[in-house]
């Protein structure tokens, strides 16, 4: 058995070595096909990343009534931190609010002087939410509950832009999934067909192996292995090309390259489509005896 496996692997290497130019052309075609997919993923990934970063800022700002003292504010903060979906709370005292105002808007700091020493910015509680609660609907529900609490003057949570952001993230997720699926299927067919054509040139090898009594799996194994190697080499090549394009554009269009798990997905898709192409190619190369 070990000898048969060794020989099957040897056959695979021999196939590649003996048709090196064909192999390289096939790898190049697979690389170029995959590059379209990689660029689509790169654009999608960066768009989604930007939207997610925006979503990261989603939170609730709870303004307290002037009569609420610090002890009561902290009790309120405790109460809010126990609510479902709340990750953390942070109490901002009137003094801290003023300091932040002066730091963030120094040109408008004079307004505070005009309003006189008796004026204080309201104390507030900043509420940070768990990721899955940062949708317009869920934030709205939490905000409404908080606004009904004793001592709360006003609640702000970006109600103007949050519904649009939530919709954009949701649409983008569906679009990436659907377009990705369609692209992955068409790409697999292109790669499978390219590898199938490469395998079809080996009709004589398939026939001779069958005639000398090679078991079907022995005949298929080297070809499927070759298809996988072609697919992986092609998808790796496409990643290198995409990375080169990405690097060239990084100074003019700031973006991030694909994350590790997406790279693994592309390589796995390459391996799968290459193996599938080989398998299909051999099915047409194998002529079963007919009555």
């Amino acid at each position: 058995m070990i000898h048969i496996l060794q020989n099957a692997l040897r056959e695979g290497m021999l196939n590649i070595r003996s048709k090196l130019p064909t192999f390289l052309v096939t790898v190049l075609m697979v690389s170029l096909s995959f590059m379209v997919f990689d660029i689509f993923l790169l654009v999608s990934w960066n768009l989604e990343y930007a939207l997610r970063s925006e979503q990261e800022n989603v939170g609730i700002e709870v303004f307290l009534e002037n009569r609420v003292d610090e002890a009561e504010a902290l009790r309120l903060a405790d109460l809010i931190s126990g609510m479902e979906g709340v990750r953390s709370v942070y109490y901002v005292s009137p003094r801290e609010a003023e300091a932040v105002f002066r730091a963030d808007m120094p040109e408008q700091a004079d307004m505070l002087e005009l309003l006189g020493p008796g004026f204080h910015l309201p104390a507030s509680i900043q509420v940070s939410l768990l990721l899955e609660y940062r949708t317009a609907e869920k934030v709205g529900t939490i905000a409404r509950t908080i606004s009904g609490m004793e001592g709360v003057a006003d609640v702000m949570y970006g109600e103007e832009y949050l519904p649009g952001l939530t919709r954009a993230v949701s649409v983008l997720e569906k679009l990436v999934f659907l377009a990705g699926l369609v692209l992955a299927i068409s790409l697999s067919l292109v790669v499978a067909n390219t590898v199938r054509l490469a395998v079809a040139h080996r009709a004589l090898t398939l026939e001779i192996m069958s005639i000398v009594g090679a078991p079907a799996w022995f005949i298929r194994l080297p070809f499927v292995g070759e298809g996988m190697v072609t697919g992986i080499a092609g998808s790796a090549g496409s990643l290198i090309l995409t990375w080169a394009v990405s690097s060239m554009l990084s100074s003019t269009v700031p973006h991030r390259f694909l994350p590790g798990n997406w790279i693994l997905l592309i390589l796995a898709l390459g391996a799968f489509s290459g193996a599938a192409g080989s398998w299909i190619g051999m099915r047409s190369g194998f002529r079963r005896p007919r009555r």
Binding site: I4, N7, I211, F218
Partner: protein, 227 residues
Amino acid sequence: MIVSFNNVRKYYGSWPALEKVDLRLEEGEFVVISGPSGAGKTTLFRHVWMGDLPTTGTVEVVGFSSDGIRSGDLPLLRRKLGIVFQDFRLLPERTVFENVALPLQVTGTPPKAVRRRVFELLADMELSHRRNSFPNELSGGEQQRVAIARAMVAHPVLLLADEPTGNLDPEVSRKVIDLLVGINRAGTAVMLATHDPRQVPAGAARFVYLDGGRIVDPSYWDGYDQL
């Protein structure tokens, strides 16, 4: 009996390639299947290695029957046969050694045993000096000897030679036929398809004549006129 055709008919569409063929081959026998081009010789051979199955009737070869053979049985059947073609069908990207070793490698024979057997056979075929050559570096006669070595390397029960001299000049053809006769004398059954039965020495083989897919009586066969 190692080969038995029982009332075999083969139709490709409506075209009859074999008609009511009954044929037996005993162990160690040499049978020459002769007939003009298109007589059905190659079709008959394809039925022996079960590259085709009969439309009606039964073919039995070394214990395998066309009636119940499964895909998984085909390699087991073919390991008991050696097959030689007119166009040699050597793998062009492999050396002589690699071509001859192939039938042993696919069955998992240890590399040492493969080397020993291939070297022995190449010496018998006077091809030792060509073991690292590629098929396109060989003459037609040498290529056919390599094909015969590949067919014989796994000690087949039956050697099928389908027009092995079709692409060779008369002198080389005679040597190939002598080689086949020698193989048969060493105990291997041989089925040889040829359109020229005069190549085979009288008394060395049994002759079967095919015409239009039917086995015909040699006394009524006018094939010689066409040679």
